[in-house]
Symmetry: C3
Subunit: 466 residues, 3 copies
């Protein structure tokens, strides 16, 4: 087996040549487009919302089928019983109907009115029981009496219903007909992915979990941002190869990792996407090591261009970054969300519905992800060809002709920073980080200086990275 | 001479085997006991308070004799005139009586009413003199007119009296009979220590100075906490060997260091104990290097479990950490106090008496010291045996069976952190530090995971440490 | 060519011997003198203010001639057309007369009333024109209607006038007689320097730009502080060789660097001086690397002794530190100012006149620069000869004889810090930094300890430095 870096020299050179002339991804047009894209994302979320998803089953397949209409996904089915590391892919689950009827015939709870009503992976049941017998199978949220909680029991055989606490509290002490028409039988778990080839086999992994039923922020927002990032990249020459993976949380990422173990070494950077539609500030959660290129790129872009953004240290709780950041996998994968899991009251309840989301927030999330990826893909290192003193920018048309002003325009400052730090070791992202100027401004300054003959690609120029 | 680490392999292996099954020291019972221990500590302080101590002499011997009733101490006497590094052990000092009488016969100042009245190491005097002649030998605190200050003149031949400023200001301009019946003659300086053997010869040194007369916080609080830490460890199998040293400040620690120079290399960690009974927050003063294992252990325990605690950088001022941290000794010894020296007005005055102390504070100080030592002694490194993704904790009974909750219980989070960082290099203390979870929670999580077969001791497992 | 460090051993030894006994520069007398020096500096500024300076020409020569009366400067003329790195020395410019007269004969703008009225390097003009034709050549500051701005056009052939916005707004729509009697012809650019030889050829460079016409803070304040630092050092034995350079901004520092490229390796530390007379706090702008000895010295001195001081990170914008910090030059040169360029409204306007400055601020700036240089020049490393425990300072008269006090005098604390950290690796500046005590206090403590036989120069003692 050959190592990642053992490409044929011609390919490597072509890649490098390509980089040097490749323009930035995001211009004013893209920025404007992001406003419209927010609307498309929200429309897609509204379409996908009613589907009853779980970690396996028909809802999951329907979801990836709809995403495939936007960018064609490659589907893989992992059979029930497959060992994935320390886990086993469970039987496939589906539910056709589920309700509770009081003895008078009143239907108290009905799957048809919300997919959240039935605990995920509930075993089939069809029985009459007293309220006392039923009670241990009912879940509600006393602090939000009108909201239905979201509960699952994937690996512990059980059944149950989730309902509004106001309904639960009003249940008369009678007998109830309890029906769950579910099926739990050997089948498979559905994985979906799209690969956008770049000029190198080094990869960026974008992961979104797709197993949550009728929850909009978690994670239809992640799915819709991810598929539209794929749509944007599709028509574009990139340095990295981009791999978009849609899979159930935990067991899905584990199954994907287990199936692709031999090629994980190609993954240089990555993002888990989730919770990208609420109105809270964008949060970047760092990789386990915390100092990878993705960490620097993400936090630089967010802190300089997306006001109010916050950086979270890694912790082994949250979404699939837990698996990607496990000690035996240890990929450089961060996470983008707006308000993090568990930190907004609507999280994992029926209140996380499409009305909770904002098209503006979705569009901005999409743009933020794009700019983070751009900062990795378009990063480069140069050497200043006139390193003794500042070169005379004025005679090259790169500097205002009149002197004496109190301030310096940001674009001129970017030229000076690029010249000052282009010693072949610092990349444009490093320079953007130190100068606290937006990455695009710095990269454009470098392009101008290269055109003016003042910069040349560093001898081993390539993407920065760890 | 053999190096510290050249133990016979079997001994080393036995030590390691012992570690793996050794439970944490502090459980709910210990925590409850600490409340009662505070009362015992204060009672002991009240007993020791009236004794007139100095850096040599009978008061010092009476003090260590009383401590010996709790845990038997080994006594060493260092003769006057012994060279200890740059110093010489001084003559032994004792004082039988000391007073000032006005010519009318009124006794203005009397040693019998407070040991602080006479300047430590005062030469004998018996003379009549005017107030003007007497005045240079009188010390008071104008800012606290009712308190008697504490003054000494160990190495400069002198005599003097300390008294309340209110008394000083009221002295009539008459003649005074001034008497100090002291004795300064060749004798010895008393050192006392207790050694609790552990499974390794690597040592932890606990030092408390015992030379201050009738001052409660400084340092009867340190003596009482130290002797009760020794009492707790006595019945317990420990990894480290614990050495408790009671000695006069400065000359005592120097004498002890000089007598034990050949075996100082065994000391891996240590604490100076003082000022542990006032109501202020606990302060940890770091070692000279500031990044030893004791620094990390102490600050982790205090910052996660003892609210309001503060960390002080090392400075060459304070107690015997000055000697332990001198460049030619350079031991990894930190210091635990509550309010530091010089930062509370009662410091070194008659107001530092047993009524100034709190049994609760003393008990809490004892518990804090114990937990710091526990974090060093019970620290260990493990390897995650299922490092690819998270192992399935649910089927091992280590994870709640139902999913979807907003938060994660601290105990589950501790399990995830231990799994995530157990790469053989990070110790439980490192993991506790990064996760900001209490050490005991992390160590217990590791024990649960080891029992479940998910962790194994790291190949070179042993105490972390610098 | 020989390397910097290849001095003859005897010279090196002599240098070292000299250091060990050399007293600090700044004592109480110097501190008092700094108050008077402020007045002298302001008087010099008032004298130099009316001279019409530019980057070349007679005003520049007159300025350095006046400075030469204080300390004799060596003058070098760099001919027009000389290539300096990426630049070319421009033709020499002078202006004899310049005015605008309205058709009625009213003189609207006149060079005689302010040197700022004519744009620097204006081409000659003598023409009648309408207000519409004249307007593009007029510059004013609408936000400060009474102030005249400062504008130049060194490298782009142009002409123009600067005037108060209130005057501009009142101009009647008539025809104007516009006259600039300037001359732009081959000549030379003037460099001036003074070298104070030290006991080593290692140099400290002090640079001040001298090209600004009738602006007081920028940079007559820098010139006057620099020349008086030179005057102070002139009578003094120093470790370093001090080189004071007075040159026009940008093209002047580039010309000096290009002429002296072969000996730049001798420059170990340096400061650019400017804007030292306003009432704002002192700002130190760090070198490009940010962790040179000059960075530590400057920030230590300012933060411990000059209240309100601030530290700025390097950026490639400002004064000639831009050239010294370019990647191909990369000298360890920081910058001292009070309020930085562009951060006070008077900057680059007629309001930056001598009345804007304060004699106290100038004197304090001079003292601050001196103390920063002192901390570099008088820095040294020692070895504690009694490293086991603290030596007994009392019997050497270095410690108060009575014990028990609540606090410790700063001078005793300095003794303890020097003893504690004098391991041969830490310099006095390092120790001052860690202890946060003033450098002079620490250096004096070291001298006392050396005299007492407790310290010896470290085997390779010499100036600290990077």
């Amino acid at each position: 087996m050959r190592k990642t870096d053992e490409f044929e020299p011609e390919i490597r050179d072509k890649a490098r040549a390509a980089r040097m002339t490749r323009p930035l991804w995001v211009d004013e047009k893209t920025r404007t487009a992001s406003l419209e894209i927010g609307g498309s994302l929200l429309a897609l979320i509204r379409e996908l919302y009613p589907i009853g998803r779980s970690i396996t089953g028909p809802g999951l397949r329907a979801t990836v089928a709809r995403l495939s209409e936007i960018v064609p996904l490659q589907i893989a089915e992992v059979p029930s019983g497959t060992k994935v590391f320390d886990w086993t892919v469970p039987d496939e689950w589906s539910v056709e109907d589920a309700f509770i009827e009081a003895e008078g015939g009143d239907r108290i709870v009905d799957l048809k009115s919300s997919n959240l009503h039935v605990v995920g992976y509930s075993l089939p049941v069809d029985a009459w029981m007293t309220l006392a017998e039923l009670r241990p199978h009912l879940f509600s949220l006393p602090e939000h009496p009108d909201w239905i909680p979201y509960r699952t029991s994937y690996y512990s055989p059980n059944w149950g219903f989730c309902l509004a606490d106001r309904v639960l509290k009003s249940l008369p002490d009678c007998r109830y007909h309890v029906v769950i028409r579910s099926r739990l039988a050997p089948g498979s778990l559905t994985l979906a992915e799209y690969v956008h080839p770049g000029s190198t086999q080094d990869e960026v992994l974008i992961f979104a979990h797709d197993c949550h039923p009728s929850l909009a922020n978690d994670n239809l927002s992640g799915l819709s941002v991810a598929i539209h990032l794929a749509a944007f990249l599709r028509s574009r020459a990139t340095h990295y190869t981009y791999r978009f993976v849609f899979a159930p949380a935990t067991i899905g990422s584990l199954a994907w990792l287990a199936s692709n173990e031999a090629s994980l070494h190609r993954i240089r950077h990555g993002l888990v996407l989730s919770l990208l539609g609420d109105r809270g500030p964008i949060h970047y959660k760092a990789t386990r090591a915390g100092d990878h290129a993705i960490d620097r790129a993400a936090w630089h872009v967010l802190s300089t261009e997306f006001q109010g953004s916050r950086r979270l240290d890694f912790e082994p709780w949250g979404y699939d970054e837990r698996q990607f950041g496990s000690p035996g996998i240890d990929l450089a994968i961060g996470r983008m969300t707006r308000t993090p899991n568990g930190e907004f009251p609507e999280y994992h309840t029926s209140a996380d519905n499409p009305d909770f989301l904002s098209a503006d927030a979705l569009g901005q999330s999409w743009l933020a992800c794009l700019k983070v990826l751009e900062a990795l893909d378009c990063d480069s290192r140069y050497v200043n060809l006139q390193p003794k003193g500042e070169p005379q920018l004025g005679r090259r048309g790169l500097y205002r002709s009149m002197g004496g002003y109190q301030d310096v325009p940001a674009r001129q400052l970017a030229l000076l920073w690029v010249l000052n730090l282009s010693d072949g070791a610092s990349s444009m992202l490093d320079i953007a980080g130190r100068s606290r100027l937006p990455f695009g401004l710095v990269a454009n300054a470098a392009a101008d200086l290269e055109r003016a003959g003042l910069l040349a690609p560093a001898p081993d120029a390539g993407p920065a990275g760890r």
